[in-house]
């Protein structure tokens, strides 16, 4: 049922797939995620929804092949089907429920890193469609690892590209770009940072320094994604929250990132073992 309608490798290990999932497409909102189980013996992998079309009944997912299960997901070809996709999960982005007046007075800046650039797209698109001012900063290590820049360029007021090695755009990290923009007089009422946990930690620190409130989207460990297992526990403002049902978006200033990063790596040794003993099938057909 969850048939893959199209597939595109955005970088050597980041893959975009459009998948048939009518029920999810009809209910999805920006900021939500879903869970994919590639086949009978695979894990349940949480992935953010990068785009959706309620009328045509598809959702887009962007997966970075890093472990055995994500390698499996990426190895699927057009015409094949995933065993399961469940969602949409988590709460939609906070701005979805904001009034037009509040939104009209807002000015957003998104700081996107790595595979986290993809889920930024539906959020920026949603805000753009409502006439909200949105700038987007996309960062990557090098030019070849940049994703979604063309699509973001169509919906962002300004798109700023940054590479660590200077191979494209601004030479430096996304937070340095943000500091530069603010020093040049740009004013933002809200920042949203999505990317690797460490990047969101630094983006939060930067935004706090600049006095811009910042929302982060936490990609914690999960099993069911419905509040049942508690693997996604994260300390926010001194309280334990479940990222799957109370998140995935939280006020970055309140998140205990060091704990979140440690918890994210809980199964690292088990995962390394699986990957070593698992044949990655990307690019070799099935």
């Amino acid at each position: 049922m969850f048939e893959i309608l199209s597939k595109e490798m955005l970088t050597p290990n980041i893959c975009q797939m459009r998948v048939n999932a009518p029920r999810i497409a009809a209910s999805a909102r920006p900021g939500q995620f879903l869970i994919v189980r590639a086949d009978e013996k695979g894990e349940r992998i949480p992935l953010t929804i990068s785009d959706f079309d309620a009328v045509q009944g598809w959702v887009t997912i962007v997966t970075q092949a890093i472990g055995a299960s994500t390698c499996d997901i990426v190895s699927f070809e057009v015409g094949e089907s995933f065993a399961d996709i469940a969602g949409p999960l988590g709460l939609p982005s906070g701005f979805v429920n904001e009034s037009d007046e509040v939104l009209a007075g807002s000015s957003y800046v998104f700081i996107a890193g790595g595979v986290g650039t993809a889920p930024v797209y539906p959020q920026v698109k949603w805000l753009h469609d409502r006439g909200v001012k949105v700038d987007v900063i996309v960062g990557a290590r090098t030019k070849d690892l940049l994703i979604y820049t063309n699509r973001l360029a169509q919906v962002a007021d300004n798109l700023y590209i940054c590479t660590d090695d200077g191979s494209e755009g601004f030479h430096g990290v996304g937070t340095a770009m943000l500091e530069k923009l603010v020093s040049e007089g740009k004013q933002y009422t809200q920042a949203v940072a999505i990317g690797p946990m460490i990047m969101m930690k630094f983006a939060t620190a930067c935004c706090c320094k600049l006095g811009i409130p910042v929302i982060v989207s936490l990609n914690t460990l999960m099993v069911d994604g419905t509040g049942m297992c508690g693997a996604c526990r994260v300390t926010v403002g001194g309280k334990t929250r479940f990222a799957c049902v109370e998140g995935p978006e939280f006020d970055g200033a309140l998140v205990d990132f060091d704990e979140a990063m440690r918890r994210q790596g809980q199964y690292r040794s088990e995962e390394a073992f699986e990957k070593e003993h698992h044949k990655c099938r990307i690019g070799r057909g099935k």
């Binding site: 349940r44 065993a83 996709i85 069911d224 419905t226 334990t240 440690r262 699986e274």
Partner: protein, 459 residues
Amino acid sequence: MAERIPRVPVRAQDPEVRAKCFEEVSLGYDRQEAMLEASRCLHCKNPRCVGACPVNIQIPDFIACVAKGDIAGAAAVIAKDSSLPAVCGRVCPQENQCEGSCILGIKGEPVAIGALERFVADNSPSTEVEQAAAGGHKVAVIGSGPAGLACASDLARLGYDVTVFEALHKAGGVLEYGIPEFRLPKEKVLKPAIDTVKALGVKIETDVIVGRTVTIDSLMDSEGFEAVFVGTGAGLPKFMGIPGENLCGVFSANEFLTRNNLMKAWREDYLTPIHAGSKVCVVGGGNVAMDAARTALRLGAEVHIVYRRTEKELPARKEEVSHALEEGIVFDMLTNPVEITGDERGWVKSLRCIRMELGEPDSSGRRSPVPVEGSEFEIPTETVIMALGTSPNPLISSTTAGLEVTRRGCLVASEEGATTRPGVFAGGDAVTGAATVILAMGAGRKAAKAIDEYLASKK
């Protein structure tokens, strides 16, 4: 009457062998043993066991069939009241229900009703049941656990067009994700039980999270369901709120068991990771605590159960406690955790506990434990599993207008299962908070009857 026949013991796998594998522990009766055990029933004129069974199975009648060797007849008797005998024979707390009220138990050992029920279910082909003509009325059942399956099968028998919506990728609810293989084999016992429900015409749609993928409103307004049964159980894990609970190596029993049961982490051919380590402390004393402890043991750990009262107050089934003890699990009773300490990498190092003593009885009638001042001590451990109970998931109540919940998050429902919203019924743990498989089944069946009456009155 001459010397009575003693209760026929149920054969079990050798504790040393079973502590290292996930094969079913209890082997059950063979035909001869079952017939002998069945001959012990006194056939009381006023059988107390029937009243003590939440679904009122005609226990003496099915036992009489077993005694005669008529297993198919026994199965037909049970099928009138229960759709999951192979499951209930294995997981019901019989000592508090049917067997607990057996007259033979006053002076000696009660009839092994649970073991006999299991024998009948395991040794009879699925029985044909009468099915009313389909009326075409659509009913949605949310959750494919014991409450949902029982409600769905009764409704299907009454001729309704029933669809069960399951949030996970596999049907069965707690029977699939919670209860381990060694207590309830999935392929051998659970799958056939679910197939029987499907054979009645019930459709099961997995990967649908009601409250997210769809809502009760969209099911009723856009998909044409005329009534809804909410049997979503009690899936939210509780934590203690002590320092260190978010350290790496602290898991809810739900996570640990779901990884192992639903996600099959114990099997090498599945990708799911699980972490038990060399030593595990399980906090809690219920069936879930026993399941988590015995699972950790089978994954190779030394396992301690940490419980704040004494062995006498353990809420787990007697059989689970004795099986756990036989397998070598250490019971640290009158012990309550106060903190989990961690190492410099953020992993669990020890469980700091305080000794307890029993004080006055509390509202549940159990003597409440009070801490012994100055008695703190540390149990070095690699993993801590919290098995402190669960509460209902707010995903449905928070997305459905007109559905009232109690302070504890349980859905408000009448004895028959009617919620505060017309057309929406509920039963099982979602209403009562965490309880038993058989109580959930009973509630599902009552609600099926109420739904039938509700839809008949609407016509």
